[in-house]
C-alpha cells in the first residue's frame, strides 16, 4: 500500500508517493535523494539520522514518512544559507568537531536545534541535549567545543 504525501523539505515543497511502511530516513535518502542524513543503528539510539520535523528533533530512522505529511522537515542539507555554512557547521570544521563525518549531519542538526532553543547553553546543557548523538571518533570533546564556539557566533 502506498500513499502520496506532501512535505516541505528544507523549504522546498515536495510530493512523493511512498509505501506506508517507508521510514522518513529512507524517503529522504532514496525517494528524495537527500543522502546527508545517515543510518547508523537503525533503531533510534545513535542520532545519525536526526532531522527536524516542524523544528523538533526526531530520529528519522524510526519515524514513518507518512508522519511527515503536511509538515516541514529540515535536514543537514538545509542549514547553509546563500552558500554560507551555518555557524555550527563552520565551528565543527574549524575545531575538528568531526572526524569520519558519518554522525556529523545528526550532530549538527541536533546542535542547531539546541542553539535555536537555548541561546547560550552551558556545558552541562550541551552534554544533556547531545546525549542522543553518538560519535565514535572524536570522544566528544571537540564536539562540545564546537558547539560552544558556535554559540558565541552571531546566528542567522
Amino acid at each position: 500500500m502506498t500513499r502520496a504525501i506532501r512535505v516541505t523539505v528544507n523549504g522546498v515543497a515536495r510530493e512523493v508517493e511512498v509505501p506506508v511502511y517507508r521510514t522518513l530516513l529512507d524517503c529522504l535518502r532514496y525517494d528524495l535523494g537527500l543522502t546527508g542524513s545517515k543510518e547508523g543503528c537503525g533503531v533510534g539510539v545513535c542520532g545519525a539520522c536526526t532531522v527536524l520535523l516542524d523544528g523538533k528533533m526526531v530520529s528519522s530512522c524510526i519515524a514513518l514518512a507518512v508522519f511527515a505529511d503536511g509538515r516541514e522537515v529540515t535536514t543537514v542539507e538545509g542549514l547553509a544559507k546563500d552558500g554560507r555554512l551555518h555557524p555550527v557547521q563552520q565551528a565543527f570544521m574549524d575545531l575538528g568537531g568531526f572526524q569520519c563525518g558519518i554522525c556529523t549531519p545528526g550532530q549538527i542538526v541536533a546542535a542547531k536545534a539546541l542553539l535555536d532553543t537555548v541561546e547560550n547553553p552551558t556545558e552541562a546543557e550541551i552534554r544533556e541535549w547531545m546525549l542522543g548523538n553518538l560519535c565514535r571518533c572524536t570522544g566528544y570533546y571537540k564536539i562540545v567545543e564546537s558547539i560552544q564556539a558556535a554559540a558565541r557566533q552571531e546566528r542567522p
Binding site: 543522502t35 558519518i102 560519535c135 572524536t138 570522544g139
Partner: protein
Amino acid sequence: MSHRIVGQPIGRLDGADKVSGAARFSADVTLPGMVWGKALRSPLPHARILGIDTTKARALPGVLAVLTAADLPDVLVGRRMFDMPVLARDRVRFIGEKVAVVAAADPDVAEEALALIDVEYDDLPAIIDLAKALESDAPLVHENAGAYEGAPAERPHPNVQSVLRFKLGDVEAGFREADRIFEHTFRTQLAHQGYLEPHAGVVAIDGDGRVQVWASNKMPYRLKELMSHALRLPKEQIRVNLTPIGGDFGGKGSLMDLPLAYHLARVTGRPVKMVMRYAEELMAGNPRHPSLITVRTGVTRDGQIVARQVKALFNSGAYAAFKPVPHVHLGGVSLGAGVYRIPNLLIESYCVYTHNIPCGHMRSPGEPQMVFAGESHMDMIAKELGIEPSEFRRRNLLRDGDQLANGHHLEHVRAKETLDAALEASHWSAPKSGPWIGRGVAMTHRHVGIGFTNARVRLEATGRVTLLIGLPDTGTGAHLTLRQVVAEALGLALDEVEVELATTDVFETDSGVGGSRVTHTGGRAAYHACEKLKQLIAAEAAKLGTPGASLATIAQAAAREGRTLEASYFYDAKKHAAVTSFTAQVAEVAVDPATGQVTVRHFTTAHDVGTVINPNAHQGQIEGGLIQGLGYALMEELPTEDGRISTLNLGEVKLPTVADIPPLTTVLVEDAVGPGPFRAKAIGEGSISAVAPAIANAVADACGVRILDLPITAEKVYFALKKKEQRS
C-alpha cells in the same frame, strides 16, 4: 626545526562536504538501475544444512534473484587465511553466518523475501567456551584447518588457528632467580569497533565487463586483490573507487558482502548495493577478540622483574578470515611484556576456533587485552611487595638500547619521562579529596606503523599542486595532514595544494590505511615525491631563463612543450624504526559503595610524540582512542548466550556518550625522532590500551576491590565489595 605549516592547528578544512551532508559515503552511492542485496543468516551456531528451499522467495513479486552456495563457485575467502565460504555450503559455524542472498529493487521486498527462504538444519554440538575448545575431545570447528590456503603450519590442536610466541632469555632459569612469583588470570570481553557506518558497498559490472566497487574499505588495493581471489577474476578487471569511510577503528578491511554483491550484479545485470543492518554488524562484523590471559612474573625482593611467562587464549570464533597479518594472529600479543625490560620472557598466545562470531582487528589489535592484564598484574605485584606502583614501574622500565621480544631494537626511549609527565600533571602524590576515591596509573607503548604507499604530485597550470594518493580517509583527517606535508615541502600555502583520490587503476599497489601507518608512509611518499617535483621545477625554471618565474609560468611553459611537471614516489617501510611512542595514563575514580558505580573524576594522558603535523587532528586521535578505551573499560560488552549475542541493538552495547567523558588533561612529551615526514611518529593507537588498567588500578586504590575481567561494571564492583565485607 621550525616549520610554516607543519605544526599548525588547522581545523578540518577538508570537511565542508561532511558538515553540509554532501559527502558521498558508500551507502550513499546510487547508480541507475541499482538494486538491493540482503543476506539470510544462520540462527544456529553449528548445524548441517540439509536443504534450502528458495521457491517461495523467488516467486515474491519484485525479487530479481535468490542465490545459495550451490549457485556460487566453491571458493573460500579471507584476508590472509582463506577459510570462510561466501555463503555457507553444507554447514554453518556461527549464528549470523550467511546462507542465502536476495536481490530486489526495493530493500524492504528483499527483506521480506528472506523470510520466505526455508532452510532445513540438522543441529550439531557447538563449542562456545574458549577453554573447552582445546580439550582433547572437543568438537572440531573445521575438520582440517591446516589445509586452508594461508594456514600457519603450527597446529597443536585442531581448533587452534594460529600460535604466536615471543621469547627472550630463559624463562625457567629466570623464575629460579626470583624471590617471589605472582600469577594472575584476566578476562576481556568481545567488543565491536562501534563505527556508526555499518559495512556498505555497491558493485556494478560496467559495459566493458569491469567490476566497479564502492566500499567502506580502508585498503582499496588489498581489496582489489582479495576480490580478484574471491571472484576468480584477473585483478585488472576490478576497480575500487574510493569513498569516505564512516569510521574504521580496524574493522573496515574485510570483504564482508562485496563478493555477494558481485554475484547478484552478475545474475541480475544490475548494480547492487548491500548495506549491513547494525544488528548484522553486531552478530557478524569482525569485532575485537575476547581473551583469557594468565600472567606469571618473578621478581626480586627489591622489585626487579627477572622473569615473566604469559599464556593468552583468544576466542577467534568460527573463521580466521578477518585477520590480515601473515601470522594470522594479533601482533599486540608482544605487549605481554609491557613497557618493561624483562630478561627472561616467554609469551605464548593461541587464537582458537569456536562456534562464535569470527573476530578481526580493532584499534591496536591484541593490545588492550594484553595491557589490561599486564598493567593490572603490575599493580597487584606492587601491592604485595609494598612498593608504590609508579615506583615499581620505574624500576623496571625499558631503556635505550633494549631489544624487545618482537625483535624491535629501541632508541630514544622516553618511558620514564612520559611516566613522570603523567604523574606530575595528574597530581599523583597529592592527597585525595575524600574516601572512595582512588588513582591508578598504567603504561604502554607502540611502534610507528610500516607499509607502502604511492604518491604523485603534479604542478598544475594554475601554479597549484595536486597530490594524487590511493589512501581513503577513515576520519583521521589524513588528507589534510598530507596536504600540510606537501605545502611545507614545496613552500606553498595550504590552499594551493589539493588532494585527488586515485582509484585502484592508478597505482600498482598500496598497503592502505591501518596500523598507525598513514602519516608515516603516506607522508613520506608525498614528501619524497615533492622533492622530485622540486628538481623538475628547478630544471624547467633554468630552461625558461626568467629568474623568479612563478610556478604557474613554469607549468605553462612546460605544458606548451607537451610536458606535465609531475613526480611519483613509492615509499616502502619494511622494517620498524628503532623508536616507539610511550603512553602513561592516570585515572582518578570515585566508587559509589552503595551501587558499585565507577565514575572517572579526571583522566590524564601523556604521550611521547614526534613532530606533530596537525595538533588538532593529533589531539582528536588521542581523545577518540581514549574514550573508546573508557567504553572498553567500563561499559561496552557483547554478551553471548550459547553463541548468540544478546545485545543486537546498538543501544544495548553501551558505547560512551557525551555524558560519559571525564575532564581530561593531555601532556605531550615531544621528541622529534620519528620515521614519518618531518620526524613525525604515530598517534592513532596510542591512547586506547592503557585506559582500562588505569581505571582498574584506580578502582582497586579507591575501594580495595580488584576486578579481573572487563568491563568494570557497577554490578561487578558491588558484588566484589559485598564479598570483601563478608570476609572482614
